[in-house]
């Protein structure tokens, strides 16, 4: 099957040959739908998705359902146990725990989500550029990513916050930056593996522009590992955000976030552990659910390539 005489071959012929090559190389049709079906076969993954969904729903809709003000202090009710008015009790300033956890969750989760999206986006771009360009650009970019990867994410985040202060934007960037390298590597290796495949070579031999190849072939194939990575990184990012908050470099009051809630509760370790247990549990559950969903997605997408 010679595509060598490309300039003379009819366009219809090229498309047919490409389709044949595509089918021969095993690129699955509709991998997304296939993956979804496989995901829901496993009970654990169903549970994980359900839990994650429930948590997200809770923090998004919560404040509309449970309208207590997270910042309203009822000093006469300080450190009260669970009651009908305050299902999770109150903290040391008499503020409703449930409202605080919901409000804090909103902040934690949205920052983490935003950070993951930013990291994925920027990282993917870098990976695409490096993988496709090759040569010096590739080498330099990957060395830079290596330097980034040598450091643990929390320390990098601390460095950014040390320089830029603790605002929502800086925190989001601080936890996003360490993960850029991760996504860049994934994207780059996808590009490298895809660009050697038959149908891409066929396309290039027919004179198709590189950018078009990028869009039609590389991006759809890279989607699955990137999505899996996003789910897994989400959990880690959430932990970093909470850690920053706990260490005092998170969102400033009056806004609260799960990590800062834990920090507040520290002083009263001796007297009221409830305020400690709930936010921490929330963090752990959300991160756990995120990780399990990521694992499930990973298994689901792994359709014997």
């Amino acid at each position: 099957m010679s595509v060598g005489a490309g300039s003379v071959a009819p366009r219809g012929g090229w498309r047919r040959r490409r389709a044949e090559a595509l089918a021969a190389s095993g690129a699955a049709v509709g991998p997304g739908r296939l993956a979804l079906r496989r995901m829901f076969r496993n009970r654990l993954s169903i549970a994980a998705v359900a839990v994650l969904g429930a948590i997200v729903l809770a923090v998004v809709l919560g404040p509309f359902v449970w309208t207590a003000d997270p910042n309203a202090q009822h000093l006469n009710l300080a450190v009260a146990g669970p009651s009908s008015a305050h299902p999770l009790g109150t903290d040391t300033n008499g503020r409703d725990m449930l409202a605080r956890v919901l409000a804090g969750g909103r902040v934690s989760i949205s920052i983490s989500l935003a950070a993951v999206l930013i990291a994925a986006g920027v990282g993917a771009l870098i990976g695409l550029a490096a993988g496709f360009a090759g040569g010096l650009l590739d080498a330099v970019a990957m060395r830079a990513m290596d330097i980034l990867l040598a450091f643990p994410s929390l320390l990098l985040a601390l460095a950014v916050v040390a320089a830029a202060g603790a605002g929502v934007v800086s925190i989001t960037l601080a936890v996003a930056i360490p993960n850029v390298a991760f996504f860049a590597r994934i994207m780059r290796s996808m590009v490298i593996s895809v660009r050697e495949r038959d149908y891409v070579l066929a396309a290039r031999a027919s004179g198709v522009r590189r950018s078009r190849i990028l869009l039609r072939h590389v991006v759809p194939n890279s989607l699955s590992p990137v999505i899996v990575a996003m789910a897994l990184v989400f959990g880690l990012t959430l932990l970093d955000v909470a850690a920053l908050g706990f260490l005092g470099f998170g969102i400033q009051p009056p806004q609260s976030e799960w990590g800062t809630l834990l920090n507040d509760a520290r002083e009263y370790l001796l007297t009221s552990p409830v305020a400690l247990i709930v936010p921490g549990l929330a963090i752990a559950l959300t991160a756990l659910a995120g990780n399990l969903v990521g694992d499930a997605l990973n298994d689901a997408f792994d359709t014997g390539r």
């Binding site: 643990p152 850690a243 370790l269």
Partner: protein
């Protein structure tokens, strides 16, 4: 194999330079006048600011400043901490040993237990050890270490009263330091009650931190032993009537644990981060709490230096990982 190794080692100096550069630039990333930041921020008088500016050559161009910075650092001058009113190197000297003590204890505790757990998991699939290992790995990436530490502290210290909550020594104990590691120093000086006291204070933070190497070691040992126990030479040993225990410890272990040093290098970053968190939770006066305190106080000379030290540590550990892996395998020795 050796080619990639040389490749990685060649990158080493670049990484080191990169780290120093990043640390250096940190100061300039801070909004405002770097000289003022170094001199003490809002507490600095105009004369102090000018003095600092001159002292650190901050009136010169950036490349010159960088050169000066690196030059000074190599000679052991990392600037002055205005919060402690001491040279930074002195401060570091006081705060590094406690972190070493904490990390060392965590490793001594976590690695052996983790390895044993992983080996047990590899020998019997679906055993309690197997499930526990999987659980630990999952918990490791989901449960915040600082929360775990707090929960442990509440349970053991507050509820049960078995161990102290924070610090390194009780107020009534005194100890002249030799190495800076209280547990060792107390032993060296024969002060048994101090030793016991120091140990009790070390316990909670060390146990909390030990979960990091424990989870890693367990997962590593399990994977490694499963692979090795499936090898042909293990089958040969079985075919010659050699007992399972001897097979695991004398025939499989060397092969399976070969990459252990590599794994230790890999967990170094996670360990250090964990140390920072544990020091925060248990008020342990080490490098981590120094960093946090300096950040709060805007003591930038200290922040910069701690970041530098940590950065160098990571670069070195990454290089050692690559090096050790290549050297330890007898099969590549001849290459």
């Amino acid at each position: 194999m050796t080619r990639t190794l040389l490749h990685r080692l060649a990158v080493l100096p670049i990484l080191l330079v990169g780290v120093t550069l990043l640390a250096f630039l940190l100061l300039h990333a801070v909004p405002g006048d770097p000289a003022r930041a170094l001199a003490g921020g809002r507490y600095a008088t105009p004369q102090q600011i000018e003095q600092t500016r001159h002292q650190y050559g901050l009136d010169r161009s950036l490349p010159v400043q960088y050169e000066r910075y690196v030059g000074n650092a190599v000679q052991g001058d990392l600037g002055q901490s205005f919060a402690f009113q001491k040279p930074v190197t002195k401060v570091l000297g006081e705060r590094i040993p406690p972190t070493v003590e904490l990390v060392g204890a965590a490793l001594l505790l976590g690695v052996p237990i983790g390895l044993l757990l992983g080996i047990a998991a590899a020998r019997r699939r679906d055993s309690w050890a197997d499930h526990l290992t999987t659980l630990l790995s999952l918990a490791g990436v989901s449960i915040p270490l600082f929360w775990l530490g707090l929960m442990l502290a509440w349970l053991v210290s507050v509820k049960l009263g078995w161990l102290p909550l924070s610090g390194r020594l009780s107020p009534f104990q005194s100890l002249q330091s030799i190495t800076g590691i209280d547990v060792l120093d107390a032993l060296l000086r024969g002060q048994w009650s101090t030793f016991w006291d120091a140990l009790r204070h070390l316990a909670l933070p060390a146990i909390t931190l030990s979960l990091v190497p424990l989870a890693f070691a367990a997962r590593f040992a399990r994977a490694s032993f499963i692979e090795v126990l499936g090898q042909d030479y293990v089958r040969t040993a079985r075919a010659y009537g050699i007992g399972e225990r001897e097979i695991v410890w004398r025939h499989a272990a060397k092969n399976a644990l070969l990459p252990l040093v590599t794994v230790l290098g890999i967990i170094a970053p996670a360990l250090l981060v964990g140390a920072v968190l544990c020091e925060a939770v248990f008020a342990w006066p080490g490098l981590g709490s120094l960093l946090l305190g300096a950040m709060q106080a805007r003591d930038y000379a200290v922040v910069q230096s701690v970041m530098l030290v940590m950065g160098l540590l990571f670069v070195v550990s990454t290089a050692l990982v690559d090096l050790s892996y290549a050297l330890l395998d007898p099969r590549t020795r001849r290459a």
